[in-house]
């Protein structure tokens, strides 16, 4: 019989899983940080994470992990009390974390693992602790049937801990106990009586059939707060906690899949608030919709209502976007472990610095970001960072550093992955690219362009295919994944000083801030993010350059594109507009000739691929307020095409 119904328990169990996975991630982070950070706070967090899993596992019947969590907790408790966490201890605890994760994932998938398979790691942890783990002693029930005789004399202060002797007497009575005698001898004169103190003592009998443990339970909380004798001998036996050893195949833990999304209550509250506003606005507008004549006053009221509606809708949209957002830290969190493991594997001493992990990003983007980031970081560690000897020889600190940083820039989230390694071998990259026909033999690309070649399909400079990267796949996957997320990638490298890869990602995939422009009779949308400025083109001298035109803006040569001609709206050279919109893609500027700037507004991106088919140069379409369809320009693709054509 359970006090809770199955559905409630299932929901609670799911919460337990999510919480446990988060806890394991935190534990992992803390374990990896333990080497240089053994602050009480750090160790406390680690301890709590495992402790909560142990407690929850017992409560939710996930009993296969309790033994393991228990020994981990014991070891952590020793560390908390000042024991030094050696590498060996950390490694064993990390393995414990992995094993717990596997067990929880399996249980969540309906296939609980056999707790016996945890025996090797449990034994290892126990050994590190230096002794077998004492299990709770179990008290065996006595066989004798002679009645119990209990003498119970509470100390004066017992009630100050909230323990009421009446409660104990009541419980003893429920077991069939009776009070034989009440000792009033300690009772002081009334004037000296402290109402919060106890002066009485009792002698009781309880039938012999009652188990000693039941009586002990009643007094368990007041041990030390009273003089207590319970007459009759009992046997106390200890149970061994270590189960027999069974071989365990070491498989890497599968990442827990995101079954549901946990959202902060503040975000939901905000959303409720917005919906409330929306309802108010709706009723306000509804009142205006009756049969009466349309007066100036009524139009004014309708306008007010509509502007309120616009405000609320925007706020609602923002809160929904926030609802879908999750901190980048969720993805960054797995890197300390990756860096630690790879570093050990390659014999490199590597530190990882993570900043901006609270930056929030759309959940879909975040989920697809993990693999590209892993590729980039692996690449940094494998190719970028040198061994300690090489670093020292180059006058750098022996320990290499990988940095992950995230921040908001406008309506984009920028993620930087940098290392202080040797930097990209640009001449070699160019040589290889020429060999493989990725660039023309006589081409003289800029450093930035060469650096970007590492993202070309099939490109790899690794002299030997290593276990970690260098299979020639990976970096082109990064490029494709980021493109799919409507993001951009750029690479900066300095010989001997390191490489920095910058990913720029939209906050959300569904909505962008757009600048509406007119080309002929058509309206197009340019993502606001890519616009640098808009200038009068006549004021700037235009120069012919090859087949195209360029202009100079603040000492920078900017190619000009007749957008209407490019999109086939009218013949080349037929545009007479002076308006030049300067956009930027991959760090290079481009001037677009447009006829007119219209409003700036947020647009919801509708996929062309799903509804029609892929069109180069267009990122999608949107439906404008008046119901017309407007195309959204893909500035990155446009500028690539134009640069290729030039």
């Amino acid at each position: 019989m359970s006090a809770l119904d199955a559905a409630t328990l299932a929901a609670l169990l799911e919460t337990f899983f999510e919480e446990s996975f988060e806890g394991l991630e935190r534990a992992e982070t803390s374990l990896l940080a333990l080497e240089h950070d053994h602050s009480e706070e750090r160790i406390g967090e680690l301890f709590r994470a495992i402790h909560s899993i142990k407690g929850g596992a017992g409560a939710f019947g996930v009993t296969e992990v309790t033994d393991l969590a228990h020994v981990m907790e014991n070891l952590l408790d020793e560390i908390r009390s000042g024991r030094v966490a050696t590498r060996e201890i950390t490694a064993a605890l990390l393995q414990g974390v992995d094993t717990l994760r596997v067990a929880l994932v399996s249980r969540r998938g309906g296939k609980p693992v056999d707790p016996a398979s945890h025996a090797p790691i449990v034994a290892q942890l126990v050994a590190l602790r230096g002794g077998p783990v004492a299990a709770a002693p179990t008290v065996t029930a006595p066989t004798s049937s002679a009645p119990w005789r209990i003498s119970f004399a509470p100390h004066a202060h017992m009630m100050r801990a909230g323990n009421d002797p009446l409660r104990m007497l009541r419980e003893l009575a429920s077991l069939g106990g009776t009070v034989v005698a009440t000792d009033l001898s300690r009772l002081p004169p009334l004037a000296e009586l402290d109402p919060t103190a106890i002066y009485l003592a009792w002698t009781l009998t309880v039938p012999g059939g009652v188990a000693r443990s039941d009586i002990d339970d009643i007094f368990a909380w007041v041990e030390g707060d009273c003089d207590l004798t319970i007459e009759r001998e009992v046997v106390v036996a200890a149970v061994a906690a270590v189960p027999s050893a069974v071989d365990q195949a070491s498989t890497p833990p599968p990442p827990p899949t995101m079954g549901s999304l946990r959202v902060g209550i503040d975000k939901i509250d905000l959303l409720m608030n917005m919906v409330g506003e929306l309802v108010i606005t709706q009723s306000m507008l509804g009142e205006l919709d009756d049969e009466g004549p349309i007066t100036v006053d009524r139009i004014r009221q309708i306008r007010e209502g509509l502007s309120l509606l616009a405000r609320t809708t925007r706020a609602l949209q923002e809160s929904v976007v926030r609802l879908r957002s999750m901190p980048v830290g969720q993805v960054f969190g797995r890197f300390p472990r990756l860096v630690h493991d790879l570093g050990q594997q390659l014999g490199k001493d590597i530190a990882i610095e993570i900043t901006g992990q609270s930056t929030e990003l759309d959940r879909t983007v975040l989920e697809k970001l993990g693999d590209p980031l892993v590729h980039i970081v692996r690449n940094s560690i494998d190719h970028g960072l040198e061994t300690a000897e090489q670093r020292v020889a180059a006058g750098k600190p022996a320990q290499g550093t990988v940095r992950l940083h995230a921040e908001h820039r406008g309506s984009a989230v920028v993620i930087e992955i940098s290392d202080d390694g040797r930097g990209l071998d640009l001449p070699r990259i160019l040589e290889l690219a020429k060999q493989r026909g990725l660039v023309a033999p006589d081409a003289q690309p800029s450093d930035a362009e060469i650096a970007k070649l590492i993202f070309a399909p099939g490109f790899s400079t690794a002299r030997a295919v290593s276990d970690i990267s260098g299979r020639g796949v990976g970096m082109d996957v990064v490029w494709r994944s980021i493109q799919e997320l409507h993001g951009e990638v750029s690479v900066e490298t300095h010989a001997g000083r390191g490489t920095r890869t910058v990913l720029s990602l939209p906050l959300t995939l569904a909505i962008i801030d757009g600048q509406l422009i007119r080309l002929g009779t058509q309206t197009y949308v340019v993502p606001l993010l890519s616009i640098v400025e808009t200038v009068e083109a006549k004021a700037q001298a235009r120069h012919r350059y090859g087949a195209g035109e360029v202009t100079r803006i603040r000492d920078q040569i900017v190619p000009i594109v007749d957008l209407a001609a490019e999109l086939g709206i009218r013949p080349r050279g037929a545009s007479d507009s002076d308006l030049l919109m300067i956009v930027e893609s991959d760090g290079a500027p481009l001037g677009l000739v447009v006829d007119e700037l219209l409003a700036q507004q947020q647009v919801v991106i509708k996929s062309l691929e799903t509804n029609f088919g892929r069109v180069d140069g267009l990122a999608g379409a949107t439906i404008l307020g008046d119901g017309r369809v407007a195309f959204i320009l893909d500035i990155a693709a446009l500028s690539r095409d134009i640069r290729h054509a030039a």
Partner: protein, 120 residues
């Protein structure tokens, strides 16, 4: 029925306890750590505290000491939700002023039976 404050940093554990208590007809005030508990205590009148030991910001034992210093909580029952069976830890909890403890993991029925002991 009674008003019971459940203080635990683990959401699932807190929800499990809360559901059990609510099902039994009690009113539940939730707090995710010691400081939160003190905040939420404010003007509320709480008949029983169920308090986890290991919590961030303000742990269970410190919370008990703080509660015992408040006149209105001087004699309130405070049960520690603990996974510790170590007598030394129990002694420390008692010294801090805890009424008793409930060893995790516990079944909902056990929880209800235990709190029945301390609230009439």
């Amino acid at each position: 029925m009674s008003t019971i404050m459940v203080i635990d940093d683990s959401n699932s554990m807190r929800m499990l306890v809360k559901q059990t208590l609510i099902t039994a007809g009690h009113t539940v005030v939730e707090a995710c750590d010691g400081l939160d508990a003190l905040d939420k205590l404010g003007t509320a009148s709480v008949d029983l505290f169920l308090c986890d030991v290991n919590m961030p910001r303000l742990d269970g034992l410190s919370l008990v000491k703080r509660l015992r210093a408040l006149p209105k909580c001087k004699f309130s029952p405070i049960l520690m939700l603990t996974t510790e069976v170590d007598p030394e830890k129990k002694r420390i909890a008692k010294e801090a002023g805890a009424t008793g403890w409930l060893v995790k993991p516990f079944q909902p029925e056990q929880l209800l039976a235990t709190i029945k002991k301390v609230i009439a």
